[in-house]
């Protein structure tokens, strides 16, 4: 009995613990750094894994000396709009590629995927020109417009897989029942694909929330920045890293994502496995 427990510990719990440690340690580090003073942070004689004299100085500095609140609002604005826009487009795209089976549906599916493979580090140059021409430079709307370039391919592929798992007969039956194609989509397919749609939405939201490159390139005014860009550009001054407020900002910025995840986790997991149980 005891030996089996040891075996289980070595084979199961130990790897799990290592994994947990690797995943959670950065959060722990963020957390303790957020509540340390600079003096404590740079004192090599103290145990770096503990907080000796907790302080709220970093939190106050983040909110008083930077536009963190504004950045949060900006990031929410961009992430939510970009997610909704992408989901809307992806739902229609994925459904038509998967179900309408028009002449070029396969080709379009593949090309959307290829679009996803082009790295943003190359894409941001032509996109910058387009944003400039549209006179959206330095506006949050530029990000709302640009994020779907990588969100739509991603969501479309995720949803295509999901739509595939919905029995075709169900749609055919609804059509015989008297529903138009659009109604079938809206009343049968969308409710059934809800877990998949939520997964795609969460991914899209997280990807936009964390996006850095486009936000850095297209936005220069402080009041228009998103959290990741704001923190880096305002709290790394020259070669001085303001670790305390940086970590506080990072910690606070991960809260909404964590909340979104935990709120939808049930649907999210179901969505990932693509399970449509009758």
């Amino acid at each position: 009995m005891r030996e089996r427990w040891v075996e289980k510990f070595i084979k199961f719990y130990l790897p799990l613990l290592v994994f947990l440690f690797v995943l959670l340690f950065p959060f722990y580090w963020m957390f303790i750094t957020a509540f340390k003073s600079d003096g404590e942070l740079y004192n090599l004689k103290l145990n770096p894994f503990l907080i000796h004299e907790p302080t709220l100085h970093n939190v106050i500095m983040l909110f008083k000396e930077t536009l963190f609140n504004q950045w949060m609002v900006n990031t929410f604005f961009v992430s939510i709009l970009a997610t909704l826009l992408s989901l809307g487009a992806s739902l229609l795209a994925a459904y038509s590629i998967q179900r309408l089976r028009f002449r070029t549906s396969g080709t379009i599916g593949i090309s959307i995927f290829f679009g996803y493979l082009v790295p943003p580090t190359i894409l941001f140059i032509p996109l910058a020109t387009i944003i400039f021409e549209l006179k959206l430079w330095d506006s949050l709307w530029s990000l709302v417009l640009v994020y779907p370039t990588f969100l739509i391919p991603f969501c479309t592929w995720l949803l295509m897989g999901y739509f595939k798992s919905i029995p075709k007969e169900m749609e055919e039956c609804a059509m015989i029942d008297g529903a138009s194609r659009f109604r079938v989509f809206w009343q049968i397919v969308v409710p059934l694909a809800l877990p998949g749609i939520l997964s795609a939405g969460i991914f899209a939201f997280t990807l936009s929330w964390n996006e850095f490159l486009y936000a850095l390139t297209f936005i220069s005014t402080n009041t228009q920045k998103t959290v990741p860009v704001g923190l880096i550009t305002e709290l790394v001054r020259g070669d001085v890293y303001h670790w305390g407020p940086l970590m506080t900002g990072a910690l606070l910025a991960s809260v909404p994502v964590a909340l979104v995840y935990s709120f939808f986790v049930e649907h999210y997991v179901a969505g990932m496995t693509g399970a449509l149980k009758e």
Binding site: E169, M170, E172, C173, I176, A179
Partner: protein
Amino acid sequence: MAKVLMEKLNKHFGEVKAVRDFDLEIPDKEFMVLVGPSGCGKTTTLRMVAGLEDITSGDIYIDDKVVNNLPPKDRDIAMVFQNYALYPHMTVYQNMAFGLTLRKFPKAEIDQRVKDAAEILNIKELLDRKPKALSGGQRQRVAVGRAIVRKPKVFLFDEPLSNLDAKLRVQMRVELKKLHERLQTTIIYVTHDQVEAMTMGDRIVVMKDGLKQQVGPPLELYFHPANKFVAGFIGSPAMNFIEGELISEGGAVYFQGPGMKLKIPADKASKLKGYPEKRVIFGIRPEDLPEAPCAAPGETFDVTVEVMEPLGSEVYLDVKAAEQSLIARAEPHTQAKPHARLCLRPTMENSHLFDIRDEKTLV
């Protein structure tokens, strides 16, 4: 109430010709069964009637009106699918009411119709449940209920009983037949199961490789099959087929097969006059091969019993005549034993002869 007419119906999927020159007239109120092995084009035909599949060429009429280009919802049909296709996110009531709601029926009427259908199908207490909380048989009933509330002109059934266990299938078979009598609506029913076809259909269409083989009432198909395929497909256990030669001796015609020589009745023999070939396929059903005391060649032949399949009311004998395997039906109290030899006396009036070239029925 409607008749359905199909004229020169063709459906090609690329190179594959799923349905070829299919003609069929289904009068009002008929229970028509399309039967055949998988891939014979029966489901494709049904889907064309439903409007779920485009027609390559030909015409489909419902009540003298061409419906080729009408969308499914405007054809006034209802379809029951093999996997039921119930909407999992709706309750049984909502599932059944869906079509009526879309057609903007008044609420009271929807309620009335759903309740009536639930009454007929014995699913009244299930109306608030979701499909996942139902058994296979209950789902089947709901699927049927969803079709009947609409009171459509034509019902289409696509192998609706295939997913049920054997006992439930027999029960639902009877219920569907009763339902047809009660509703008096035209039904087109697709199945691969010839027992279902025989027991339920007013008439049956047998299909193979996209081609119609024969249309007729069940017993006509059974007793007068148009070709070897229909003869072998309808009836269980299947008809025995024996290849052999026709020989004339002293004014009579005999069939000479492996280990047997059988006299063809004069009326049948006279119809064989124009047949140019020597070789022929002889067909006889298991029930037309009774045990008998051994007699002169021409009337009986000997066989060796290999396996016995007792079913209680009858016993099937798997026997061998020379190298030819056959199935014969025997009385429940037969004295036959495995490996024993015995004689069979084919009821020659009920035998069939098929053309060796195109397998069409000769007599």
